[in-house]
């Protein structure tokens, strides 16, 4: 993990309220960024918003020393981050957190919902080629929110809430159908909490290996401040894990996602 003043190559809108930042980040890339890891981005300018924004890596490219982040405008901070221009500098800390682990699985299903598709694209690019069978399932609110579907290294199945792209259903329903046909050795997923809860119930019931990437507001991002907790099952009951260093990727059996 390093702190680096990275250079913005470009910022581009790629879907409704979703943009991609391409950053020249040689030091961070040199650390070896693994799928599911995130970077902690300080907001640009003299803002009164002090806290960094944890953003999953969509792609890290050693050949060009670039990192790509896909960011949803969720508030003032992510809106401010959209205003950066080529050659602007950003202070970025990373790579941080635990990554997805393919465990040598022969059949992997990738599941991404909404902005959670970004780290799943990263995992798919890295692991789909190693598996005998790989299918990616992406769910979006509608066609205008969809991204990351081009140049996939494996079969992609898409669903939308409004039916404007792919199947008019929930992504977890698409997944369930595929599981009925062939249960995978491993499912890697990131998305909104209700999607993750459904997936967790499904995979626990079917005894399938599943890794979930969680999201939580963070402060230090290093494991020191203890603000980004998630409840986890341990031998004698439950305790809180730190999403930033114990996660953001957790085994679905390990975390409690109850509201």
């Amino acid at each position: 993990m390093v702190e680096e003043q990275v250079t913005v190559l470009d910022a581009e809108d790629i879907a409704k309220d979703i943009y991609r930042l391409r950053l020249h980040a040689p030091q961070i890339v040199a650390q070896g960024v693994r799928p599911g890891q995130f970077v902690h981005v300080r907001l640009p300018g003299n803002t009164t918003q002090l806290l960094r924004r944890p953003i999953s890596v969509m792609a890290a490219r050693p050949e060009s020393q670039t990192v790509e982040l896909v960011i949803q405008i969720a508030g003032e901070g992510t809106r401010l981050l959209r205003s950066v221009r080529p050659n602007d500098r950003l202070n970025v800390l990373g790579p941080l957190g635990k990554s997805f682990d393919p465990h040598g699985a022969k059949c992997i299903y990738f599941v991404g919902g909404g902005i959670g598709a970004a780290p799943i694209c990263c995992a798919m690019d890295a692991f789909a080629g190693q598996a005998e069978e790989a299918i990616a399932f992406f769910g979006f609110r509608g066609a205008e929110y969809a991204y990351g579907l081009d140049n996939a290294p494996c079969e992609v199945r898409v669903s939308t809430d409004d039916g404007t792209l792919g199947r008019h259903t929930k992504v977890t329903c698409l997944l369930q159908k595929a599981i009925d046909e062939r249960p995978p050795d491993l499912i890697l997923a990131c998305g909104p909490a209700p999607m993750l809860r459904t997936l967790q119930n499904m995979t626990l019931r079917l005894r399938l290996n599943c890794q979930l990437s969680l999201e939580e507001h963070m402060a230090c991002g290093l494991g020191a401040c203890l603000v980004c907790s998630c409840k986890a099952r341990v031998r004698n009951g439950t305790q809180y894990h730190r999403v930033c260093v114990d996660g953001p990727v957790f085994d679905a059996r390990e975390v409690c996602l109850d509201v």
Binding site: M1, R52, H217, A219, C220, A224, C228, K231, V245
Partner: protein
């Protein structure tokens, strides 16, 4: 450190600090995470994550909310307990060569006394008695409101303490100077302030409070004017050393607290915005001293020109 252009060394209750910048409790863990970024041995000291007699798992999430120029937290004293601190973290920290301040929080006077007893034979340099954690009902804040209670708990703990005893005051009181005087009268060796100001954050869209604990502690530059005022008042009210904190982001901020009378400062929330904040603030403070043509950090303590 020998190439310093100004002498940053300070002495606090007989403890030598390389410089007056101390990482504030609750923002810095036990130092290991930040030591991955820089050698924390260059800091004046660390006040470790608030310790309790038994391990605590803390509050449910959400534990944090961003606010203008600040943040609210409600971690709820999640910590491994004082015994685990002594066996697992303290030896490593002592090797780093910075002053180690054990921050202790209790739900009874007896809790504080037993923690002080456990820490007495260790090489911890100072105790910081947290009687002001706003985020748990039993986090000591019950002892931090009324001057009589501040006096009682300080007096009791002082009898068990093997190290200089620092009392961390809550700003959520009617008159902080009364509590400072009560701590001094009870035998406190030092006072640190301010802990966080209590606040809430509202999510208007969901019509709910953001923090699971409802109430949290406000920190960051938003609280600095309040913290400065309280440090300034307390430094006039007591004769024991004062450590100032509250929204310090730069060396100039640190100097402002020292001008108001603080002999050292603690840096908390700044670490989140800038993980290199503490070493940066040390360098900036040194640059300030040089610019002010001051050779020793101690010379600016209380050097405010009053109106």
């Amino acid at each position: 450190m020998s190439d310093r252009k100004a002498d940053l060394k300070v002495r606090l209750c007989g403890v030598r600090l390389k410089n007056p910048v101390i990482a504030a409790s609750g923002t810095f863990g036990f130092g290991r995470e930040y030591d991955a970024l820089y050698d924390i041995g260059q800091l004046g000291g660390i006040s470790v994550k608030g310790l309790t007699l038994a391990p605590r798992c803390g509050n449910p999430p959400h534990r944090v909310a961003e606010t203008p120029s600040g943040m609210l937290n409600a971690v709820g004293l999640e910590n491994p307990g004082v015994d685990a601190f002594i066996s697992e973290h303290l030896p490593w920290l002592l090797d780093k060569g910075l002053a180690v301040i054990a921050n202790i929080a209790g739900s009874t006077v007896d809790d504080y006394c037993r923690m002080a007893e456990k820490l007495a034979p260790t090489e911890v340099h100072m105790l910081e008695m947290n009687i002001s954690c706003p985020n748990v009902k039993s986090g000591g804040v019950a002892f931090g409101i009324e001057p009589d209670m501040v006096y009682a708990v300080t007096r009791a703990v002082k009898q068990h303490a093997g190290q200089p005893l620092m009392v961390k005051l809550s700003p959520n009181v009617a008159d902080i100077t009364q509590n400072a005087r009560a701590a001094e009268a009870a035998g406190a060796d030092c006072i640190s302030l301010i802990n966080t100001l209590t606040g809430i954050a509202v999510d208007a869209k969901r019509r709910r409070l953001v923090l699971a604990n409802n109430v949290g502690g406000l920190s960051g530059p938003a609280v600095k004017p309040v913290a400065l005022r309280m440090v300034w008042q307390v430094c006039k009210a007591v004769g024991i050393p004062v450590i100032g904190m509250g929204g310090i982001m730069t060396g100039t901020d640190a100097a402002e607290f020292m001008l108001c009378g603080a002999q050292a400062v603690m840096v908390g929330t700044a670490n989140f915005a800038d993980p290199m904040a503490c070493p940066r603030i040390i360098s900036e403070l040194e640059a300030y001293l040089v610019a002010q043509k001051v050779r020793k950090a101690g010379e600016i303590v209380g050097a405010l020109i009053e109106n």
